[in-house]
């Protein structure tokens, strides 16, 4: 038999059509840039600023932005707002990312199991999803946060537990269609176990929608954390988070508006950026939209 030469140029990841399409999505690129700036600022910023986030200076109360070394001004206790914003960013972003990871994990597990097993197991799992979805999530979050001792870890878990359902639904639908593909039949034919097929054959093919859902979940998790902290059930002062900074700013809205505007802007920027990234990923990874 004559050997048939395959096309010998190796494919590089940046030649990938998905990557190319993502690069053309300008808002998504902007989102990535903004998130990168935010993360770097939150990680390294506090070391570069001359103040500690808990340092109280009563002589410098309500200093407006750009006064002296207080770039964003100070709060009612004279603490530097810039360093507090960045410290709060660490907490808020970390809670957002961890909640996303946890909820994606739960959602993917439930979705893959329900989608591949089908039958009564699948039905039971998906009705559980429906049950969770039928709760107004904000009240569920508040109820949980009010009864449990609020700490960043607990808040993360609470957010994850109330936001995995969307991932589960997306993954379940995807897996159910992948299950009928011939390569899955082929995997059964060579005698692979169900777990192996789910994890090694099906899951890699469902990563696209999972990544998209995950990026949108980060945005939602950041918002949820801000909600509960703003209402006083979340991250407790003196540990700053964007949400509880807003809470503290309520009574000074007229006299010191920057106290609300600056953390508010940080939340808005983070959330919109993650939504842009999510949209970009959705466009780039959507295989149904298959023109060049």
């Amino acid at each position: 038999m004559t050997a048939i030469a395959a096309n010998l140029t190796p494919a590089r990841w940046w030649h990938n059509r998905g990557v190319r399409r993502f690069m053309r999505h300008h808002l998504a690129l902007l989102g990535i840039a903004m998130i990168a700036v935010l993360v770097l600022a939150c990680v390294f910023g506090p070391y570069a600023l001359p103040y500690d986030s808990l340092h109280i200076d009563l002589r410098a109360r309500f200093a407006p932005p750009l006064s002296g070394h207080h770039y964003f001004g100070t709060d009612p206790l004279g603490r530097d707002l810039a360093v507090r914003l960045l410290m709060a960013g660490r907490v808020s972003l970390l809670v957002g990312f961890s909640a996303m990871l946890l909820s994606t994990l739960i959602g993917t597990f439930v979705g893959v199991t329900a989608g591949y097993r089908g039958g009564w197991i699948g039905a039971a799992l998906m009705r559980t999803v429906d049950g969770f979805l039928s709760f107004p999530s904000i009240f569920l979050v508040l109820a949980l946060a009010a009864t449990l001792r609020p700490s960043p870890v607990m808040i993360t878990i609470i957010i994850a537990v109330t936001s995995w359902m969307e991932v589960a639904r997306i993954v379940e639908a995807e897996v159910r269609s992948l299950r009928e593909r011939e390569f899955v039949h082929a995997a059964r034919m060579v005698g692979l176990s169900g777990r192996h097929i789910m994890l090694r054959e099906i899951l890699p093919n469902a990563t696209g929608p999972i990544i998209v859902a995950a990026s949108l979940t980060v945005a939602r998790a950041i918002l949820l954390e801000a909600y509960i902290s703003f209402l006083g059930y979340g991250i407790q002062p003196p540990l700053p988070s964007w949400g509880n900074m807003l809470n503290g700013a309520q009574q000074y809205l007229a006299s010191a508006p920057w106290l609300a505007i600056i953390p508010g802007a940080a939340i808005t920027i983070a959330v919109t950026s993650f939504n842009f990234i999510g949209d970009g990923l959705r466009d780039a990874l959507d295989v149904r939209d298959d023109h060049i």
Binding site: M1, I4, A6, H185, A187, M189, V190, G191, L192, E201
Partner: protein, 567 residues
């Protein structure tokens, strides 16, 4: 147009394509989709454009219709229709010509019809778009058209939605739409490829018949020389975007001059009618014995009386000797694929026995059957869907043996060996499926099935997604493998010609039952059952050419269409 082309000499040319070149966007596998293609479609003739996938035949048709995607443009050359050059014509002018002067029928009638509109409305829409007639006259014309394409009870058919019709009926509706404005030219892009052989034969006769009656010119795109032999007056052969040969059907089929044409014609499977010389002398015991196998699909709920019961496999019995090939032949819906899935236990049977090496595997649970899986392997139909796009070829081949306890290194060595055995080079091992062509992927699928040195191979339409020349290579490979390893095969196909190439024995399936079983010579030359006779008669290109001109043939096909409707 002021300057008529000198090349278009006579009045009897309906459409003339001159040096047409269509460029592809940068980064595609070749620069031109179509390069310097010229041909004439004579008035009142059927011109077949034949080529394998990627030959540019559909691009040519779309260029004529002005339906090319935005990224692809006709970069030079001309298409003359009644003295007008279509290349570079404004989209409004083209739209006016489409449907009125040139119309087209597509390969897949289900996706080409609007699922939310009734058949009648869709035909009327064509006329309304060109502002022809009044609503009332359009309606009566639509009903006339429906009866003209041989659909039974046109009044009723007018109100049907596409999903209620069979594939053949949908294609008839497409033809009715294409004929609505009495176009001078009909372009048919593989109109019968998605259809069963018997339906294909009916549609071919219909097109031929309508073309004769209306004196239309038809440009018929196909990959099947059998179809060409059936209906063509003239033939253009295309390869990789170039036109390599053109001439009358007689000339191209009988004495092809170009090497590629000769190769293509040689690759077309023909009914041999001769029995295959078996790989080895038949052993006494059969390796596979199937007894009264039954599988019924149930959907909906019996509680709400919405249950639908479809018997897919209904009491199938056969046996297979070691080292032999049994062909299972049937049209879509005959249950042949379900039978294949049952044999490999991707589906559970309702009743009956599958005795593999004397042991009934039908009743085994998945866990009990898993140790036996290596002995029964399958080659799948779709070379694109049957390989996991996220796994390398090496992983695809070795994952099964490793799961069954073969050491990693040994499995890899065996995989490399098998890859070279099925005609792929060693560099294949670390690559991903999307880097390979359909034929290469099917070789990978065969290598995967051989990794376990199976006793029984089930090939489910293993070559039907491939071009004829690749098809011939894969059939040869399967034959060679069987002679070397003595593996038994169940070869499932809808194509009798393919089955005649490779099978020792053929079972014809119809509605879940085997209606006839015997060696190819019996099935093809002396079929016992009426259904087999019908099936054999419908094979394109195997009948004497004069037969189709027989009086009354048309009536005969109309009757069959009506019968099809009643069922």
């Amino acid at each position: 147009m002021a300057s008529a082309p000198q090349t278009v000499a006579s009045e009897d040319v309906a459409l003339s394509v001159r040096d047409l070149t269509v460029s592809l966007p940068a980064g595609m596998e070749r620069v031109h989709a179509v390069e310097n293609v010229s041909f004439d479609l004579k008035r009142g003739q059927i011109l077949c454009i034949i080529g394998e996938s990627g030959s540019g035949k559909s691009v040519t048709a779309n260029a004529i219709m002005g339906l090319l995607p935005k990224t692809i443009r006709a970069s030079s050359g001309a298409i003359f229709l009644e003295g007008t050059n279509l290349v570079g014509l404004s989209s409004d002018r083209l739209r006016d010509l489409r449907g009125r002067v040139v119309s087209m029928i597509f390969q897949d009638p289900l996706s080409a019809l609007n699922p939310l509109m009734t058949v009648g409305e869709q035909i009327e829409e064509v006329m309304a778009a060109h502002a022809v007639g009044s609503p009332k006259s359009r309606r009566s014309r639509a009903i006339d058209l429906l009866s003209e394409v041989g659909l039974p009870d046109p009044q009723l058919m007018y109100h049907q939605y596409p999903f209620r019709l069979s594939g053949g009926q949908r294609q008839r509706v497409m033809i009715a739409m294409a004929l609505a404005l009495e176009p001078a030219i009909l372009i048919a892009d593989e109109p019968t490829t998605a259809l069963d052989v018997t339906t294909q034969a009916q549609i071919l006769h219909l097109i031929r018949d309508i073309q004769r009656r209306k004196g239309m010119s038809v440009m018929f795109i196909t990959h099947d020389f059998g179809v060409v032999a059936e209906i063509a007056d003239a033939v253009v052969v295309m390869e990789k975007g170039r036109c390599v040969e053109r001439g009358s059907a007689e000339q191209v089929l009988k004495s092809p001059s170009h090497l590629y044409t000769r190769r293509l014609i040689a690759a077309v499977p023909h009914l041999t009618g001769k029995d295959r010389i078996p790989a080895e002398a038949a052993a006494q015991a059969s390796i596979l014995k199937v007894e009264c196998l039954v599988k019924t699909y149930r959907s909906g709920s019996p509680l709400f009386r919405t249950q639908r019961i479809v018997p897919a496999v209904n009491g199938v019995t056969f046996d297979l000797a070691p080292g032999r090939t049994l062909g299972v032949v049937g049209e879509s819906g005959s249950g042949k694929s379900s039978l294949g899935r049952l044999l490999i236990k991707l589906l559970d049977s309702d009743s009956g026995a599958i005795l593999f090496e004397g042991r009934d595997v039908a009743e085994l649970s998945e866990a009990q059957f898993r140790p036996l899986r290596p002995k029964i392997q399958m080659i799948f139909q779709d070379p694109f869907a049957s390989l996991n796009p996220r796994s390398t070829i090496g992983q695809i081949l070795t994952v099964g043996p490793i799961a069954h306890g073969v050491p990693h290194k040994e499995a890899c060595e065996q995989a490399r060996e098998l890859l070279s055995h099925v005609g792929l080079d060693a560099g294949t091992f670390g690559r991903y499926p999307h880097e390979f062509s359909g034929g290469q992927r099917q070789r990978i699928g065969i290598a995967r099935a051989l990794m376990f040195k199976p006793k029984l191979l089930i090939a489910d339409e293993a070559v039907s997604a491939l071009d004829v020349s690749i098809q011939a290579q894969i059939l040869k490979l399967l034959d060679q493998i069987q002679r070397e390893t003595g593996v038994s095969m169940v070869f499932i196909t809808h194509d009798l010609r393919v089955a005649s190439q490779i099978c020792d024995e053929i079972a014809v399936m119809h509605r879940g039952q085997i209606v006839e079983r015997g060696p190819p010579s019996q099935i093809f030359l002396d079929p016992k059952s009426a259904y087999t006779r019908e099936l054999v008669a419908a094979i394109p290109g195997e009948q004497p050419r004069g037969a189709r001109a027989l009086a009354g043939v048309n009536e005969h096909w109309r009757d069959i269409a009506k019968n099809e409707e009643r069922l």
